[in-house]
């Protein structure tokens, strides 16, 4: 027995002492754990609860559907199309690279795109998703979904992309949308604009109506897991879709204009309602396909658009400036009549040219018109008459009248990029060239050449204001707009202008209109356009008045003329622009039209037929009065 017990008491008592010490230490350390629990779970529990909630709950903005755009009878011009896109959320740094590598295998992102996405992912705030690829096809969606377990942080999102069913036809008016730029943010604090998927109007009505079309952000509270995948939805607030808009454009007439312009390289047609100012047609050719921008334009496509000599991105109707040429003669006539520089019966001689000092100012008719009064001068577009009328009226009076008719300033139609053309005055020339105004400048201004430039829209405005008897109608592209749940319908039509009078004498306005009537209907410069020409009188109610014009691009000198150089032999970009303005019906004017064919050589021959056909088509369709064609939104 003692063999086992020998010395055991001694070591047993030491063991007991030390074991108790050790046990005490262990219990003390366990208490320290309790202290830590108390600190975490009682003292700081509020803070940690908040952090856990922040982990769990993610507030995401819901982009509202963008407002739709229709033509005046409710045909869709800009709509939204469902778009499956792959989006990724930032995966706490390192994961992002791996995720993009895997996505690259499925979607062929390419190195540059991967780097860009990586930067965006690192920058993205509050785990806002970043778009990896838009407009996914079914096959791509299927492959991504199949591989979803290996793609933490990636999910397929149903978004909307803008779709422009009419493509080129409406490109300049509707414009397009693009990613929000810093410039776009200027003065806007809409949180929507910080969404990477958000698109912002860049051109055309998309830009002009941006704040109406955008709508109000909705928000969704979602529970997310550690890699940002949505587990469930906690709360949802749908926001509000953008307003829908009706434009004044008549799609069928716009298409007609495009067809008629198609035979020329480049040109513009504007049709206005002279009573309401509604812009019914605004065509500029060539255009571009705005859907290229919606799906993402490539660099090559963009370069082609920028470098084409016809400038397809340029809306010539409002941004192209041309010397108005003879279409300006109505302005000179009105200015001269109003200032009593001439009387309606005043006959001015036309020997074929006028001398100013030793400079010879030619009339287009080499032999001269003999002598004409103002009505005849408009009808025959006599240059000599208007040199003299301009000299008598003076530059100041002409500029004043031109400004009343819409020249020299932007019409504030609302479309971005609208030009006001140039209306030269004494002060302008002094400031610009530091040379005083010369008599010769007045001569040139009298026939719409020289420093004078205008846009096709301005020509349409001038024609409208003459046609409606001197009322300051403003062009207008927006017929109506309404929130999506409200009814969207065009306003009732008007028969008399609501615009203020320009205070022209009705007698003089009538005289000018008479001159324009004679241009077409009494053997004037556009007699070939008369609708009942060749003895076939059809529909006298569509008779119209007009005025031809040719805008000089390159002056053909005496020497060149002697060498046999004619307009037709010049290269395209040096030929004259062909212009034509007209209104109809001649007795009760309702529509005005301005046509310009770039480098089309002669107004009457090139632009005239387009103007006549356009105006006839418009008068027959009579879009201003036929609201019954309007299609209810519900049927869309």
């Amino acid at each position: 027995m003692m063999r086992y017990r020998k010395g055991d008491n001694e070591r047993s008592s030491l063991f007991t002492r030390r074991a108790l010490l050790l046990g005490g230490a262990q219990v003390a350390l366990m208490s320290a754990l309790v202290g830590r629990l108390y600190q975490l779970q009682v003292l700081e529990t509020q803070r940690f609860a908040t952090l856990a909630e922040e982990n769990r709950v993610n507030l995401r903005l819901l982009p509202p559907p963008r407002g739709l755009i229709f033509d005046r009878i409710g045909q869709p011009l800009a709509v939204n199309r469902n778009n499956f896109r792959a989006v990724a959320t930032s995966d706490r740094g390192r994961g992002a690279e791996l995720l993009l590598d895997r996505l690259d295998q499925i979607l062929n992102l390419g190195e540059a795109e991967k780097q860009r996405l990586l930067r965006e992912l690192r920058r993205s705030r509050n785990a806002q998703p970043v778009v990896v690829r838009e407009n996914l096809g079914w096959e791509e969606v299927a492959r991504l979904e199949f591989n979803a377990p290996d793609l933490p942080g990636m999910f397929i999102d149903l978004g909307q992309t803008r779709d422009y069913p009419e493509g080129q036809l409406m490109s300049h008016i509707i414009g397009y949308t693009g990613r929000v730029s810093d410039e776009d943010l200027n003065g806007r604090d809409d949180p929507l604009l910080s969404l990477p998927t958000m698109r912002f109007g860049k051109k055309g009505m998309e830009r002009a109506l941006e704040d109406d079309l955008r709508g109000r952000a909705g928000a969704v509270q979602v529970e997310v897991n550690a890699v940002g995948r949505v587990v469930r939805e906690l709360d949802r607030n749908e926001g509000q879709a953008g307003d829908n808009a009706l434009l004044t454009i008549d799609l069928e007439l716009q298409r007609f204009a495009a067809d008629r312009l198609a035979e020329h390289q480049s040109g513009s047609v504007v049709v206005m309602d002279v009573v309401t100012g509604d812009v019914i047609v605004m065509m500029s050719t060539p255009g571009f396909d705005p859907n290229m921008f919606a799906r993402g334009i490539t660099q090559g496509e963009w370069r082609d658009l920028l470098e084409a000599p016809e400038r397809p991105l340029h809306n010539k109707s409002i941004a192209g400036v041309y010397p108005p040429g003879s279409t300006y003669k109505m302005v000179t006539a009105l200015a001269a009549l109003e200032s009593k520089a001439i009387e309606p019966w005043t006959v001015l001689p036309c020997p074929g040219f006028l001398m100013l000092g030793d400079i010879k100012f030619h009339c287009w008719l080499a032999g001269g018109h003999g002598g004409l009064n103002v009505q005849g001068a408009i009808s025959n577009s006599c240059d000599c008459f208007f040199y003299e009328a301009a000299r008598r009226a003076g530059v100041d009076k002409i500029a004043e009248t031109a400004a009343k008719l819409g020249f020299g300033h932007s019409s504030e139609l609302g479309l971005p990029g609208e030009s006001g053309g140039n209306l030269p005055t004494r002060g302008w020339k002094q400031e610009k060239y530091n040379i005083p105004w010369q008599q010769g400048d007045t001569f040139n201004l009298g026939i719409g050449q020289g420093y004078m430039t205008a846009t096709p829209l301005q020509l349409a405005i001038m024609t409208s204001r003459i046609a409606n008897g001197g009322y300051a109608v403003q062009p207008n592209l927006l017929l109506a707009k309404a929130a999506p749940r409200d009814e969207l319908s065009p306003p009732p039509t008007r028969e008399t202008p609501a615009a203020p009078s320009l205070r022209f004498s009705p007698q003089f306005i009538n005289l000018v209109r008479q001159g324009m009537n004679d241009v077409v209907n009494a053997g004037g410069t556009a007699a070939q356009l008369r609708i009942d020409a060749h003895g076939k009188l059809v529909e006298p109610q569509y008779r119209f008045a007009g005025k031809t014009g040719t805008a000089q691009v390159k002056r053909i000198t005496e020497r060149e003329r002697a060498m046999g150089i004619t307009q037709a032999s010049l290269p395209w970009h040096l030929r004259h622009h062909a212009l034509f303005v007209c209104f109809g019906p001649v007795d009760t004017p309702r529509y005005a039209c301005a046509v310009i064919v770039e480098h089309g050589q002669a107004g009457g021959a090139t632009a005239g037929p387009i103007g006549r056909d356009m105006l006839l088509e418009t008068m027959k369709r009579d879009p201003s009065r036929h609201t019954d064609r309007f299609k209810k939104m519900a049927s869309l």
């Binding site: 086992y4 010395g7 366990m30 754990l33 309790v34 629990l37 108390y38 897991n225």
Partner: protein
């Protein structure tokens, strides 16, 4: 020395019924309660499903409990006799793991033997306890206090520590080291030697730092300042603290833990199971669980103090200290008091090897009580 000669010297054999009666059934109940907490937490970690963890955990516990009771009924003299063979086998396995780890890829901690994976470091923990207990059982108090007699235990402890460090498994190495130190302490090693060891350890720190793996350094740095890299290495600690803290006093409720369900918690079924449990059951649940573990510790100390033989005392205390180290290192780690070193919470964390080794150790502990008055020869 042979088994036969030993059994002859046992003076008063205890009957089988008495042995069963001497099993600490209360302790078994407490252990089962802890395992039940594990089943509950794992059920929740799997999103309210028995698969893939909770069901297997319960089954494993059942089998491990059987093993525990069998171990408890085996006479301590057998364990004393088996101490060195077990230690030797565990060292061989540790070497094998290191070699395979070198040949294979990266950190490897287990060996695959047919259908089962074994983690030799878990066997080593128990083996060190058995060998040290056997060693000091044969020493007098005077011998135990002498420095020369402390050298063999140092080798016994440091050999597996070194092999485990190489794997690398900092957590287990720490456990073996501290568990061994606790045994040396109660065995009577002089206090100045411990002080000397601490001083030497501090002196070696810069040296150890240079030998550490990059990820281990990162863990230590992150522990010292979790905000250093809140989305990288500090993420685990931060998210675990958020989960525990947001649990509050009464927890978020069973199956309602957001941090674990939404995968903000890493390793929620293994090293961070305490967090998973506490997020849902709050401080109340945490206190109950810690109280259960404290009961195990108290039981262990009482068994150690009542043992009539030194081998039993040391085994009981070794097992108890091992249990304590498991619980303390794991919970401190998930609460941000210690670096993340990868130590499971015994009987709660998912994982077979730790469960078997812990229940084996508990079997030894209960065995000490069953054979508390057995007489073991002092021969070395």
């Amino acid at each position: 020395m042979s088994l036969g000669s030993l059994s002859l010297s046992t003076p008063a054999p205890v009957g089988f019924g008495e042995k069963i009666w001497r099993i600490n059934w209360g302790l078994v109940l407490v252990l089962s309660a802890i395992a039940a907490v594990g089943v509950l937490a794992l059920y929740s970690a799997a999103g309210g499903r028995l698969e893939p963890w909770a069901g297997r955990h319960a089954m494993r516990y059942g089998m491990a409990l059987g093993l525990c009771l069998i171990v408890a009924l085996i006479h301590p003299k057998v364990w004393r006799w088996l101490a060195w063979p077990i230690y030797g086998a565990s060292m061989l396995l540790l070497v094998a793991v290191d070699v395979i780890g070198k040949i294979g890829m990266g950190a490897q901690r287990w060996l695959v033997l047919g259908p089962i994976q074994i983690q030799p470091s878990e066997i080593a923990k128990v083996a060190v306890i058995l060998v040290l207990a056997r060693y000091y059982h044969g020493l007098t108090r005077e011998q135990a206090e002498r420095f020369v007699y402390t050298l063999p235990p140092l080798v016994i402890i440091l050999a597996p520590v070194g092999l485990v460090m190489v794997q690398p498994d900092l957590g287990t190495a720490m456990m073996v080291l501290l568990g061994g130190a606790a045994l040396l302490f109660v065995a009577g090693v002089r206090l100045w030697m411990f002080l000397g060891a601490v001083v030497a350890a501090i002196g070696c720190l810069p040296f150890a730092w240079s030998f550490m793996h990059e990820y281990q350094r990162k863990r230590v740095l992150t522990f010292l300042d979790p905000d250093r890299d809140p989305l990288g290495a500090g993420y685990h600690i931060t998210q675990s603290k958020i989960a525990i803290g947001s649990g509050g006093l009464f927890g978020k409720g069973f199956l309602k833990g957001t941090q674990s369900a939404l995968n903000f918690l890493p390793e929620k079924q293994t090293d961070f199971i305490f967090t998973t449990f506490v997020e849902e059951w709050g401080m109340v649940g945490a206190l109950v669980l810690l109280a259960l573990f404290t009961l195990v510790l108290l039981w262990g100390f009482s068994i150690a103090l009542r043992s009539q033989h030194h081998f039993g005392r040391l085994v009981a205390l070794g097992v108890t200290s091992m249990m304590f180290l498991y619980v303390f290192i794991n919970t401190s780690m998930v609460m941000g008091l210690l670096p993340v070193v990868g130590v499971p919470l015994p009987l709660v964390s998912n994982g077979g090897t730790a469960m078997v080794s812990v229940m084996f150790a508990c079997g030894l502990l209960i065995g000490v009580n069953v054979y508390r008055d057995a007489q073991l020869p002092l021969a070395r």
